[in-house]
C-alpha cells in the first residue's frame, strides 16, 4: 500500500518536472527524494535532553535528517500530522526471551547458536510490541542454559528476520542459575573452565598466522566475548551470585551486562560499585515476607537502585497482581512504576529508550530523536507514561509499521457498541412445564 502510494506520487511529480526544476533551484536543493517524510508534532520528547514544542522531524531514507522548530518541509515529503500529539523515540527492550521458538537450549554450552534462527515473527508478541511502541528488541536466549546462544537486536518491522536485524551478534547469554541439575559449585566451576579454555585457545591462535589464526566456528563467538568485542548478558539469579558475577567480569575482562533476578536488590551496593550496566527483573514492586515473623515488607526495586545511583533499564514481567491489566507485562508501565516511586518523567522515559540503547551499544542508531539516527518514533495521543495515552502510530526506519486505526483486534476489544442477540424465553417455560408434569406423575406414584 505504502510503496504504491509513493510511486504514484513520484509519477505525478514528473509531469510537473519543468516547474519542479525551477522550484528546486528556489528551495536551495531541497529536492524531495523517495521515502521522505515529515512528522509535524505538538511536542517532541527527544530523550536526548531536549523537548521541542510544535516541532518537525524530517526523515529521509529511514534516517532523521533534521529536527526542530519552523523547518522547511520538502515538497514531496509525506506529511504526518501529529500537531496535536506527542512524539517520543521508539522504545528499546534491552532483554527479552520472547518471540522465540524455545528460548532455552538443553545442552549446557551452546555459544555458537544464535537467536536469529529461532525468532518467530508470526508470534503475537511482535504485534504487542508495535502496539506498545517498541521498535527495537534485544532478543536474548533464556536463563536456563549455562552458556546460551548469541543475542541479536532486531527491529519490530517486517516479517523476515533477516530484514529486521540491527545488530547481528549483540552478546552471549551466560547464566549463573544452575537449573540443569548441577550444584552451584560445579556450575561455577564449569563456567570458569569453559572461559579458561577459550582464553588458552586465543593464546594458541595468536602464535599462528594466516587462515590458521582464525578461530573455528564453534568457538568464534566465545573468542569475541573474551576479547571484549561483544558483551555477556550475565544472568544473576540471586544476591549471592552478584559477587561472583563481578569477579568473573574482572577475571576474564568481560564486558558484562547484568541481568538481575528479583532479589538482587539486596546486593545493590556491590552492583553500584562494579559500575556494570543493569537490566532489572520484571517484578519491580513486591512484598517480601520474613520467614520467621511472617511480617511483610514492600520492596520497590527501581527506587532502591535509583537511590544507590545505579542507572537501570527495565524488562517486561509476566506476573501478578496486575499482570492481566495494564501491568508489568508492558515496558512503558515499568517506566511509569519508576515514576510513581520518585523518578522524573524524563528519567523514566530515558530508561526505556536511550539507556537500553547505550547498554546494547546501539545508541548511534536508536534510543533518541536526533539527527542522523534511525527514524524510529512513536506518536502518542498524550504525554508518555500516562493512563490515557495510547500509541497511535509507530514509525521504524522511516516506515509506518503500526496505526491504531488499522489495529483490528484492538478495535474489536475496545468497541463501544452494545451488542447482543434477542433471546426467547418460550423454550424455558416449555421445559418448566415438563418438570411440573414429571413431578405430578411421580407424586401420584407415591
Amino acid at each position: 500500500m505504502l510503496i504504491k502510494r509513493k510511486h504514484t506520487r513520484v509519477r505525478r511529480y514528473w509531469t510537473l518536472a519543468p516547474a519542479a526544476l525551477v522550484l528546486m533551484s528556489l528551495t536551495q536543493g531541497l529536492w524531495a527524494q523517495r521515502g521522505e517524510i515529515a512528522v509535524k508534532a505538538g511536542k517532541i520528547i527527544t530523550a536526548a535532553g531536549e523537548t521541542i514544542e510544535n516541532g518537525t522531524i524530517l526523515v529521509r531514507d529511514g534516517k532523521i535528517t533534521q529536527i526542530g522548530q519552523n523547518l522547511r518541509i520538502p515538497l514531496n515529503a509525506r506529511v504526518i500530522d501529529a500537531s496535536e500529539k506527542v512524539v517520543i523515540p521508539g522504545l528499546v527492550v534491552a532483554h527479552s526471551s520472547r518471540g522465540m521458538d524455545q528460548e532455552n537450549e538443553r545442552n549446557p554450552e551452546v555459544p555458537f547458536t544464535s537467536v536469529l534462527d529461532s525468532v518467530d515473527t508470526g508470534q503475537a508478541y511482535f504485534d504487542d510490541c508495535r502496539r506498545n511502541g517498541i521498535t527495537s528488541i534485544a532478543v536474548v536466549p533464556g536463563n536456563d542454559t549455562r552458556i546460551g546462544g548469541q543475542a541479536a537486536v532486531i527491529k519490530t518491522r517486517g516479517i523476515y528476520v533477516s530484514d529486521m536485524i540491527l545488530k547481528r551478534s549483540a552478546g552471549i547469554k551466560i547464566s549463573l542459575d544452575p537449573t540443569q541439575g548441577e550444584s552451584r559449585l560445579s556450575h561455577r566451576n564449569n563456567l570458569r573452565k569453559a572461559l579458561k579454555e577459550i582464553q588458552e585457545y586465543i593464546e594458541e591462535l595468536e602464535e599462528k598466522t594466516g587462515a590458521e589464526a582464525l578461530p573455528d566456528v564453534r568457538r568464534e563467538a566465545m573468542c569475541r566475548l573474551l576479547k571484549g568485542e561483544i558483551p555477556a548478558f550475565l544472568y544473576v539469579p540471586a544476591p549471592m551470585d552478584v559477587a561472583f558475577a563481578v569477579e568473573l567480569a574482572k577475571e576474564f575482562h568481560l564486558k558484562v551486562i547484568l541481568v538481575l533476578g528479583r532479589d538482587c536488590y539486596k546486593a545493590v551496593d556491590q552492583i553500584a560499585e562494579s559500575g556494570l550496566p543493569v537490566i532489572l527483573d520484571g517484578e519491580l514492586v513486591f512484598w517480601e515476607r520474613n520467614e520467621r515473623t511472617e511480617e511483610e515488607k514492600q520492596i520497590v526495586v527501581p527506587q532502591i537502585f535509583r537511590e544507590a545511583g545505579v542507572k537501570a533499564t527495565f524488562q517486561a514481567g509476566t506476573g501478578a497482581p496486575t499482570g492481566n491489566l495494564i501491568g508489568t507485562n508492558f515496558l512503558w508501565f515499568q517506566a511509569a512504576t519508576a515514576m510513581k516511586y520518585g523518578a522524573s518523567a524524563e528519567e523514566a522515559l530515558r530508561a526505556i529508550t536511550l539507556l537500553p540503547a547505550e547498554i546494547l551499544g546501539i545508541e548511534k542508531f536508536v534510543g533518541s530523536l536526533e539527527e542522523g539516527k534511525d527514524a524510529d518514533m512513536v506518536i502518542l495521543s498524550g504525554d508518555p507514561l500516562e493512563l490515557n495515552s495510547w500509541v497511535e502510530t509507530v514509525i521504524a526506519d522511516g516506515e509506518v509499521i503500526y496505526e491504531i486505526r488499522e489495529d483490528k483486534p484492538l478495535q474489536e476489544l475496545l468497541k463501544k457498541t452494545v451488542g447482543g442477540i434477542a433471546i426467547s424465553t418460550d423454550r424455558g417455560i416449555e421445559i418448566n412445564e415438563k418438570v411440573r408434569q414429571i413431578k405430578e406423575t411421580s407424586s401420584k406414584k407415591k
Partner: protein, 404 residues
C-alpha cells in the same frame, strides 16, 4: 421579595443556635482529616475538604472543619482521600473447602462458618485500599450457600461482619457439572450424580426452584426467601449463554438476580438493561488471544469466554448498575478508564455502587456523615498511574500505612 428575604434571614438566625447545640460532643478519639481533595462519592470532590471522625464514624464532611478541642488532626496537604473500596466478589480466607461435595443444593450453608478472618489475604486487601469484601461460598454447587459482607480489618471479629447472610448464591455455569464429572468417579457408576452436563445443571436448578415454590420444604426455606425477594439472590454466571439462561429463569420464577462475574454481560447488555439486574463484574483482563499480554493464550477455556476491554464502559453506556471487583480495585478502575469508562463512573464502581448493590450503602461506600470511617489516603488523583496509597483506615483506625 423583601418578606421572603426577611423570613430566610430569620430562619438563619434561628438555625445558628440550633447548629451550635447540635455540634458533636468532643471526645478524646475525635479525629479531623484535611486533604487537598476529598472524593465523597456523593457529588463533586471537595477541593480542599475535611472530615471529622468520632468513634469510628464519620460525623461531618465539609470544605473545612474546625477541629474540636483535643481532637487529633491529620493534614494530608495536597493528597486525596477516598472511601475504602469494596470488593463484591471475593473468596479470601475461606478455608477447609468452599463447596460441599456430598450435595448440590446447600442453601443453608453460610460461608462465614468457614472464613478465617485472620487470614493473610485480608491484610493484602487492606494494603490495596479494600476495606469491605463480600465473601461467597465456592462455585462448585448449584445452590452454593449464603454470602456475607465483612470488613477487611478490625480487632473484634464479630464487629467485622457488616452483613451476615447478605444473599443466597446460586451458580448458573459449568463448574458444578464439571466437578461431578471430574471428581466423582466414572460416569455410569453408582457414584455419578446429576448434573454432569450443563443441561443437567439447569434441570436440577429448575426442579429445585419449583420444589421450593410449590412444596415449601423447610430445607429450601432460604431459596424461597430469595425467590420471594426477601433475601437477595446472587447468581454467579460467566458466559453469554449462562447469562441468557439466568434471564430465562428470572422470567419463569420472577426473581431479580444480582449477577456476579458476568464476564460476557457486555454481549447481552441490551437485554440486561431492560431488567432490574445489577452486576458485580468479575476482574477485568487484557489477556486474550493475540492481544494484550504478550504471547498470552486466551480462548474460551476456563469458562471465561470472549474478551472485551471496554465491557465496563459498555455496561455503563447501557445504563446498567455495575461494580468492579478483584484483588486490585484501583488497577481495575484505571484499566476501565483507559478503555473508555468515565473516571467518575469508575470510582463509583469501586466504592458507592458495590455498596448499593450489596445493600450496605448505609454504612460504607461514600464519605458522608453517619458512615463508617473507612478511608483511603492517596498521594494524588486516584486514577493516575503514579498515585500511591498512603494509608488505609477501617472504622476510624489506620490499619495500613505505607512507608515513605
Amino acid at each position: 421579595m423583601n418578606s421572603t428575604n426577611a423570613k430566610s434571614s430569620l430562619l438563619v438566625v434561628l438555625l445558628i443556635p440550633a447548629l451550635l447545640v447540635r455540634a458533636p460532643v468532643v471526645r478524646a478519639d475525635d479525629l479531623v482529616i484535611r486533604a487537598g481533595a476529598v472524593y465523597t462519592m456523593t457529588g463533586e470532590p471537595l477541593r480542599p475538604g475535611a472530615v471529622l471522625i468520632s468513634n469510628g464514624k464519620i460525623v461531618r464532611v465539609a470544605r473545612s472543619v474546625s477541629a474540636p478541642e483535643g481532637a487529633q488532626v491529620i493534614d494530608l496537604g495536597s493528597a486525596a482521600l477516598m472511601p475504602g473500596m469494596i470488593n463484591g466478589l471475593a473468596r479470601m480466607g475461606v478455608v477447609g473447602g468452599s463447596a460441599e461435595f456430598t450435595s448440590e443444593i446447600t442453601p443453608d450453608f453460610p460461608v462465614l462458618s468457614s472464613v478465617d478472618l485472620n487470614h493473610r489475604s485480608f491484610k493484602t486487601a487492606v494494603r490495596d485500599g479494600i476495606t469491605s469484601v463480600c465473601l461467597h461460598p465456592g462455585s462448585d454447587n448449584i445452590v452454593a450457600g449464603l454470602s456475607a459482607v465483612v470488613k477487611t480489618a478490625g480487632d473484634d471479629l464479630k464487629q467485622r461482619i457488616v452483613k451476615k447472610d447478605s444473599g443466597l448464591l446460586i451458580i448458573v455455569g459449568s463448574e458444578p457439572a464439571a466437578r461431578n464429572r471430574r471428581d466423582v468417579g466414572p460416569t455410569g457408576t453408582i457414584y455419578s450424580r446429576l448434573p454432569t452436563t450443563r443441561m443437567g445443571l439447569v434441570w436440577v436448578l429448575r426442579e429445585t426452584m419449583l420444589k421450593a415454590k410449590e412444596d415449601r420444604p423447610p430445607e429450601l426455606a432460604r431459596l424461597n426467601d430469595a425467590l420471594d425477594k426477601k433475601l437477595p439472590l446472587y447468581v454467579e454466571s460467566k458466559n453469554f449463554y449462562d447469562l441468557t439462561t439466568v434471564l430465562t429463569l428470572s422470567e419463569e420464577f420472577s426473581f431479580e438476580p444480582i449477577l456476579f462475574s458476568a464476564d460476557e454481560s457486555f454481549k447481552v447488555a441490551e437485554q440486561l438493561a431492560g431488567k432490574k439486574v445489577s452486576i458485580i463484574l468479575g476482574p477485568l483482563s487484557s489477556a486474550s488471544p493475540g492481544v494484550g499480554v504478550a504471547g498470552g493464550r486466551g480462548g474460551r477455556g476456563g469458562g471465561v469466554g470472549e474478551s472485551s476491554w471496554s465491557k465496563a464502559d459498555v455496561l455503563h453506556k447501557a445504563g446498567i448498575k455495575f461494580a468492579l471487583s478483584g484483588e486490585g480495585m484501583l488497577p481495575q478502575a484505571r484499566f476501565a478508564v483507559r478503555c473508555g469508562l468515565p473516571a467518575d463512573a469508575a470510582l463509583s464502581a469501586v466504592t458507592r455502587t458495590p455498596a448499593e448493590i450489596l445493600g450496605i450503602d448505609d454504612r460504607v461506600g461514600t464519605i458522608a456523615a453517619g458512615r463508617d470511617a473507612d478511608l483511603v489516603a492517596l498521594s494524588g488523583e486516584p486514577l493516575s498511574l503514579t498515585t500511591k496509597i498512603r494509608w488505609v483506615m477501617v472504622d476510624g483506625v489506620i490499619r495500613y500505612e505505607a512507608k515513605e
